[in-house]
Amino acid sequence: METSYLQILQFLGESGYYARTEAERALLHELADKGYVRIKRGTKNVFQITSDGEKNLSREMNPNTSIGDQEFLNCLKKAYSELANPMKPLVRIPDVRRILSDKRIPDSLFNQKVLDLHDKGVITLQTALSKTHAVHGGIDSNSGTGVFYFMMFEA
């Protein structure tokens, strides 16, 4: 559903898409929270696609499912080193996704690979304060630990 709306928004370009129903507005506001769309200046319910949205669309349309484990790890290390500093050793997973968006790795594959690295003890994932604090882009841990929202190297 999200991908279809992003496609329409990309097709409509600068003119934007007018959200007519409550359901459409809710969905597009959710996409806006993720940074994929924005409200057109001077309007209330007209949405335009952002560059992040275009990247996400390209990722979804042409997913790169053949990325190897080592290549993925190298990309992750590079993204981590861009985001982390000694005072903030934990980085947000949505930020890592954003940096790696050029690689067109589908979210499900990204989540799986990141969880595998955590379970192997290469990285450490940490949860958000609560599920509501992990607005988007986190990884559901499928257990009692909540939604993983931060990561760091080392375990």
Binding site: P89, D119, T124, T127, L129, G144, T145, F148, F150, A155
Partner: protein, 455 residues
């Protein structure tokens, strides 16, 4: 022998939340190693007077052992005092809170130590006034008054807030009424005390969550003042990792620049879960009179439980411990049931053997129930016989191993001419020097009785 009827099997994993008032004596080195190393390094720096104070954040996710780390510090570090400081509920009363918690930890001996050290160094309060100006002067007077028999009770009330007897109840003032005075007292204590103090400020984020960013900011600014003006301490700021960046962002650059890079507590890997189980199950084995089985020190858990605890918890120590607690609970019921059956079996069989032996007047009998088996010694003037009843077959291998060890130890320390096994115990390796005869329980009244007659 463990009395099953009254046996309360305490789940060794029942406690998955550390508390400041419940000591924890175990330490898994790996997850805390880096943090401990950092604290020790900063202590060394403070001891060498290269720095006067340090603000060291300890960050970790919920359940990663921040409060447990306080106990690790308390149990490991001998050349510093460790004081637990829960975050104050009122950001306007930080110093009095720090002072009160310090006094709570050190008690009256701490005050007496400071008082002794001051009187020894300065002899008179006037001499000390030069080094402790302003509010410090008032505090010094209080400490000197503690040495004066006429004023000591009042001084103690003023310094601690506690009434010693009726004499002090009308004296309402305490040092903690005034923030500046409490801070001055804290500075005096830190200056005089023989070792640095590690203030372990737990749940740094709770002011942020409960009262909002302004309160947190105010608290951090107060800590900055303490860092600037007091000396001889480390402030360990334990904080939820996921809120650390928010707290750091809202603090002023002046505060940020004073804070050390945070140390992150590590999570559990599979080997940590295994080590933790080994430590926690030690007492459990003792309670069941089980010698740690060589093959499986994790009993009653199995290797698969460690795997599943890791898979479920993703290495979060609290979640892993919760999972293990569930595994133990599951196994407790059948274990207790088997223990009861075994105890009844041992009692009944033991009684029958004793009754048969008593029929022969020339035997002296001794009964011992140990390690889930029964050992009955029958001695005549010529020979000594050991009749032993091993645990029931339904019992876990760990119980059989424990019984076997016990049997081996008995026949090595005591001299028996012959051993009789009642029941089934196929795994026991026969000692070449001993004659081992085996009877089933059903054969007690027949073949065993005949055997005794011959004997």
């Amino acid at each position: 022998m463990t009395h099953v009827a009254s046996l309360v099997i305490e789940n060794p994993f029942h406690n998955f939340t550390a508390r400041s008032d419940t000591p924890e004596f175990f330490n898994l080195n790996r997850p805390n190693k880096e943090a401990l190393k950092q604290v020790i390094r900063f202590l060394e720096i403070i001891r060498k007077k290269k720095r006067k104070s340090v603000l060291l954040p300890i960050i970790a996710e919920a359940g990663y052992g921040k409060t447990h780390f306080y106990w690790v510090l308390r149990e490991t570090i001998t050349d510093a005092y460790v004081v637990y400081i829960p975050v104050p509920t009122n950001p306007n009363r930080v110093y009095s809170h720090f002072y009160f918690e310090t006094i709570k930890a050190g008690g009256v001996p701490l005050l007496e130590y400071i008082s002794d050290a001051l009187t020894q160094k300065y002899q008179k309060v006037e001499h000390a006034a030069v080094d402790y100006s302003g509010m410090g002067n008032i505090v010094i007077e209080g400490f000197f008054a503690l040495k004066d028999p006429k004023q000591s009770k009042m001084a103690l009330k003023w310094l601690t807030g506690f009434d010693i007897d009726a004499e002090t109840t009308n004296f309402k003032r305490t040092i903690m009424d005034d923030e500046e005075l409490a801070f001055a007292a804290l500075k005096v204590i830190l200056k005089i005390i023989d070792k640095p103090i590690i203030f372990f400020v737990d749940e740094l984020e709770s002011l942020f969550i409960a009262l909002g960013p302004e309160s947190e900011l105010q608290f951090l600014e107060t800590l900055k003042k303490m860092h600037n003006e007091a000396s001889n301490f480390i402030l360990c700021l334990a904080c939820l990792a996921t809120l650390w960046d928010k707290i750091l962002d809202l603090s002023s650059t002046a505060v940020q620049s004073r804070i050390e890079p945070p140390v992150v507590l590590k999570r559990f890997l599979k080997k940590d879960i295994r080590n933790y189980c080994n430590q926690m199950l030690h007492d459990f084995h003792q309670k069941f009179e089980i010698l740690p089985p060589d093959q499986n020190t994790l009993w009653p858990l199995e290797k698969a439980d460690i795997e599943s605890a890791y898979a479920y918890s993703h290495g979060n120590p609290r979640e892993a411990i919760k999972w293990l607690a569930g595994c133990i609970e599951e196994r407790k019921g059948p274990l207790l049931e088997n223990l009861k059956k075994n105890q009844n079996h041992l009692t009944l069989t033991g009684k029958t053997i004793k009754a048969l032996a008593d029929k022969k007047k020339d035997f002296s009998t001794g009964i011992l129930q140990k390690n889930h088996g029964a050992f009955i010694s029958l001695s005549s003037s010529k020979k000594r016989l050991l009749v032993t009843v091993p645990p029931l077959e339904i019992m876990d291998k760990a119980f059989h191993d424990s019984y076997e060890n016990s049997l081996k130890s008995i026949i090595t320390t005591e001299k028996y001419d012959e051993i009789v096994l009642i029941g089934c115990f196929p795994e026991y390796e026969k000692d070449e020097d001993l004659i081992i005869t085996q009877f089933s329980v059903e054969e007690l009244d027949t073949k065993f009785q005949e055997y005794l007659e011959q004997f």
